[in-house]
């Protein structure tokens, strides 16, 4: 059974960086990625707001596709857009659906720290990304093997600097099945081998 990953984001925040990381995670784990956000209850032009949210997600997708390997199929995604206050609605949502991993990007979630406890309690695992992630996908100008390696490096660097809560033991086991990691490690071995010959 596939694991379910959730990436909540506050409306109006730029979500490129956290989105890209969550998409990478979902693709590496072969898991569907769910997005959660809200339309404020007092929003007068709800349709317009909804279009804005959809366009923000499409924009973030473009940013992700730009610097990711075309050989890796993007994860399946599904947005959930509810009406009301973000924190309250997210709490209710997590009560209804239990996710295996919730990815929190402090820059886009807008969640107060006090609410994090609630998110952790109501999900099987939480990854809180670092405040200033180093995964600058924008520094890669080509999709060569070199950039693929850098993306893998940067993915694990972000994971290394993230706060992890309650992640199940099999999380790393699942990640370990990722072919990208194998290719990355193999390239490191090759580098080492070349070095030993010179």
């Amino acid at each position: 059974m596939h694991k379910k990953i959730l990436f909540p984001f506050s409306p109006g925040k730029s979500l490129n960086s956290g989105y890209a990381w969550a998409m990478q995670l979902a693709a590496r784990m072969n898991a569907p990625l769910f997005f959660f956000t809200t339309v404020p209850a007092n929003e007068k032009n709800k349709d317009q707001f909804l279009h804005h949210v959809h366009c923000s997600l499409l924009e973030a997708q473009g940013s992700y596709l730009q610097y990711t390997s075309q050989r890796r199929a993007p994860a399946r995604t599904e947005p959930h857009i509810e009406q009301g206050d973000f924190t309250g609605s997210l709490s209710q949502f997590l009560k209804r659906i239990r996710f295996d991993i919730v990815v929190i990007d402090p820059q886009t979630s807008g969640l107060p720290k006090t609410s994090l406890k609630y998110v952790v309690e109501n999900s099987n695992g939480v990854i809180v990304l670092p405040d200033h992630p180093e995964n600058s996908y924008h520094s890669f100008s080509t999709s060569t093997k070199e950039s693929e390696k850098k993306i893998t490096e940067s993915f694990y660097s972000v994971l290394h600097h993230s706060d992890l809560y309650k992640l199940q033991d099999n999380f790393f086991h699942t990640l370990g099945k990722d072919k990208g990691v194998f290719n990355y490690l193999r390239s490191l071995f090759e580098k080492k081998r070349r070095r030993s010959f010179t």
Binding site: D47, L50, H51, H54, C55, L57, L58, E59, Q61, G62, S63, L65, Q66, Y67, Q70, P74, T77, P79, I81, F140, S141, T142, S143, T144, S147
Partner: protein, 198 residues
């Protein structure tokens, strides 16, 4: 290439750079079109969530297949046709035999086909036709849709639109002729060109 220079390139020039592995060119081309694809899907599907899903799929599909773009039409027309095709396929899947399945042909001669390639061509023609249909004034689009998609009789149209039988027939004739003329123009100069002239 610096970002400022990339912004000045035409779509077709960007594609050449993308096929050479320039991911910034990819980002530029994507950012030019993701909103248009969303709004185009929305104009066909009408449901914002569904339109988002289809736009997302269309963008992934089209941008992963840029190497197959042969430049026989402008990039925007190519993308537009993929968007339409994808939306129509979704409509067919969702409303089998309702909205589009039992629709009489507006262009019976050109739609007569047997082989797979011809089916594909027919699909493209149909896509152009719906693109044009959506661009007609509401009254004309409604009339053609009621008659040819929903199969309403002249008598029913008379009652619905509060018009005489001859007025309904005359309006149908004019709308059909207008659509036919636009269709011929679109085949000659490209759908995008025709749509911008309307």
């Amino acid at each position: 290439m610096i970002l400022g220079a990339i912004k000045k390139l035409s779509d077709e020039q960007l594609i050449v750079h993308i096929n050479d592995g320039d991911r910034r060119a990819f980002g530029e081309l994507y950012s030019r079109y993701y909103k248009k694809v969303y709004h185009k899907s929305l104009s066909i599907i009408k449901d914002p969530d569904e339109a988002y899903d289809l736009a997302q799929e269309t963008l992934i599909k089209a941008f992963n297949k840029l190497s197959t773009f042969r430049g026989e039409s402008s990039f925007s027309t190519w993308l537009f046709i993929i968007t339409h095709r994808h939306c129509l396929a979704a409509l067919r899947k969702g409303k089998k035999g309702m909205a589009l399945g039992n629709e009489p042909n507006l262009f019976p001669d050109s739609f007569a086909c047997t082989g797979l390639e011809e089916v594909d061509q027919r699909f493209e023609k149909e896509t152009i036709m719906y693109g044009l249909l959506n661009s007609l004034p509401d009254s004309e689009m409604q009339l053609l849709t009621l008659k040819y998609r929903d199969g309403e009789s002249i008598a029913k149209l008379q009652t619905k639109l509060n018009l005489s039988s001859s007025a309904v027939k005359m309006r149908l004739k004019r709308s059909k002729e207008k659509l036919n003329a636009l269709y011929a123009l679109a085949l000659t100069y490209g759908l995008d060109h025709v749509l911008t002239q309307l």
